[in-house]
């Protein structure tokens, strides 16, 4: 069969700044930030759990704010500072929130974990969680099917204390 060529999205040049490093990609507009990270840059630490903003597994930080990377286009995030789970450990040393996840056993299968960790860091940056109820509500955008919530809350409490001590 002879192939016709219906208009496919044209590739465009995109420069993303991820974990402090500039990454130049040729992408079609229809590539989400999440798919750009996972499929184009092989940064698979950011997870796809639903692809529709219904689970939070794809949470990354944009200029320090947590967002769902599945619901934004890679093109839209040019000129932003994108931080993924791969960018948190510094010089081989885990970010305190990463270490706290291990210490409090705040995960089981680990699939929602990178998103949870980014979300905790974003929550601390927001500075709006004052009570236990706040923490639980503000962490509700990250579904954990293994049900590690009790331990995740401990991690957040600790992270908030640490940030207050600073």
């Amino acid at each position: 069969m002879e192939k016709e060529n219906p208009p496919l999205p044209p590739l465009q040049s995109v420069t993303l700044r991820i974990n402090g490093k500039e990454q130049r990609l040729e992408l079609a507009p229809w590539t989400s930030l999440l798919d750009a990270l996972r499929e184009h840059l092989h940064l698979t630490g950011t997870k796809k759990g639903c692809d529709h903003g219904q689970c939070g597994a794809c949470t990354v930080l944009i200029d320090g704010k947590r967002i769902n990377s599945c619901l934004t286009l890679a093109m839209m995030q040019e000129d932003k500072e994108i931080t993924t789970i791969e960018g948190l450990a510094k010089d081989g040393e885990l970010h305190p929130v990463q270490q706290a996840f291990i210490d409090h056993d705040a995960f089981q299968c680990g699939y929602c974990t990178p998103g949870q960790i980014c979300s905790v860091i974003g929550l601390v940056n927001e500075g709006k969680a004052k009570t236990l109820a706040d923490i639980r509500d503000l962490m509700s955008g990250n579904v954990c099917r293994c049900g590690a919530y009790v331990n995740i809350v401990k991690v957040v409490q600790e992270a908030l204390e640490r940030s207050e001590a600073k």
């Binding site: 934004t72 974003g122 509500d137 955008g141």
Partner: protein, 331 residues
């Protein structure tokens, strides 16, 4: 997702030019609902105009003492804005009752107004849905309709509007500033969203080539006696089964003015000023609240699974008014 082209607009005029220039074009800002729907082929624009770089990101006082929310201010930045928290806590609470920290960091105030329904059938392209595909039929009316509308429905559609923010905006009588090829205009929130009628595919009175630039909040914020009560199937990250934005202006124990807006019950935030007026000059008693609740739900119609929402909405109104009177905010 179908193929589309992508450009960026840097100011309102170029945005309007871009949207007129391209066939089947849409603005994208937060993207939280649009990209979601594009992935499952419910929406299929051929061009996206990225408006996130336009300077509509400030919250400022208006000349008449109100507050102007830039259309591109994120939901979180709005809810956490000092002036909003202080003067319009009802709005702040309503926004925070919706979605999640992540989504609110993306979603913009303008985009929130344009959220599409969460009806199961609208989201499933394999099923008939008049909103998605006019004339294909409504699967919900005789199907599963537990979450769907009880007020203002039509034989073509019983979808609800999913926003929490808009419910508060309705109670506060906000107005929406828009710009189009023919210039600027102001749409009162009450006229912004439509009832389904026989055009359920049209959600709002915003024209395809118009852009929302800001939302004006009137000076009166009901910061003392207010509540946003949201009933949902889990404690967070769920759309409302019923929500009530209630605001009272009190003179001692006498009600000077009452505002009640319902979410989760209709194709738009539901106001009934005539029923609200019943409380004017009255005492804040449970009996009076119950009378208003009855009046609010007059003409409500259940479709089987959602019959309970009629009674639940009445009870929610009463509770919300009590909480507002008792200054219990979002308790």
């Amino acid at each position: 997702m179908r193929p589309f082209t992508y450009t960026r607009a840097t100011d309102v005029n170029s945005a309007v030019q871009e949207i007129t220039r391209h066939e089947k074009a849409k603005f994208v800002a937060g993207g939280t609902n649009l990209l979601d729907l594009m992935k499952i082929d419910v929406m299929a624009p051929q061009h996206l105009v990225d408006i996130t770089r336009i300077a509509l990101k400030t919250i400022e006082e208006t000349a008449d003492g109100g507050l102007r929310l830039g259309a591109l201010v994120t939901n979180n930045d709005t809810a956490y804005h000092e002036q909003v928290e202080k003067r319009y806590p009802l709005l702040s609470h309503a926004i925070l009752a919706g979605a999640t920290g992540q989504l609110r960091n993306m979603a913009t105030d303008g985009g929130n107004l344009l959220q599409r329904t969460r009806c199961y059938y609208f989201y499933d392209t394999q099923t008939p849905c008049n909103k998605r595909e006019p004339g294909s039929g409504c699967s919900a009316i005789k199907g599963y309709n537990r979450d769907l509308a009880i007020l203002g429905t039509s034989e073509h559609c019983i979808a609800t509007h999913p926003s929490d923010m808009c419910v508060a905006l309705a109670a506060l009588e906000a107005s929406i500033n828009v710009t189009g090829p023919n210039g600027d205009r102001v749409i009162p929130i009450a006229d912004f969203h439509r009832l389904p009628g026989d055009t359920p595919h049209i959600d709002t009175n915003l024209q395809e080539d118009e852009i929302i630039t800001s939302i004006d909040l009137p000076a009166k914020g009901f910061a003392e006696h207010y509540t946003y009560l949201k009933l949902r199937d889990r404690a967070s990250y769920a759309f409302a089964i019923i929500s009530v934005a209630a605001a009272l202006d009190m003179d001692g124990d006498t009600i000077k003015e009452a505002r009640i807006a319902l979410g989760g019950v209709a194709h738009k935030p539901w106001r009934k000023p005539a029923a609200e007026a019943m409380l004017q000059g009255q005492q804040a008693t449970r009996e009076n609240f119950q009378k208003v609740a009855e009046a609010y739900l007059e003409g409500a119609k259940g479709y089987g699974d959602n019959d309970f929402k009629i009674e639940l909405a009445k009870r929610a109104i009463v509770r919300a008014l009590e909480q507002a009177f008792n200054k219990e905010g979002a308790a």
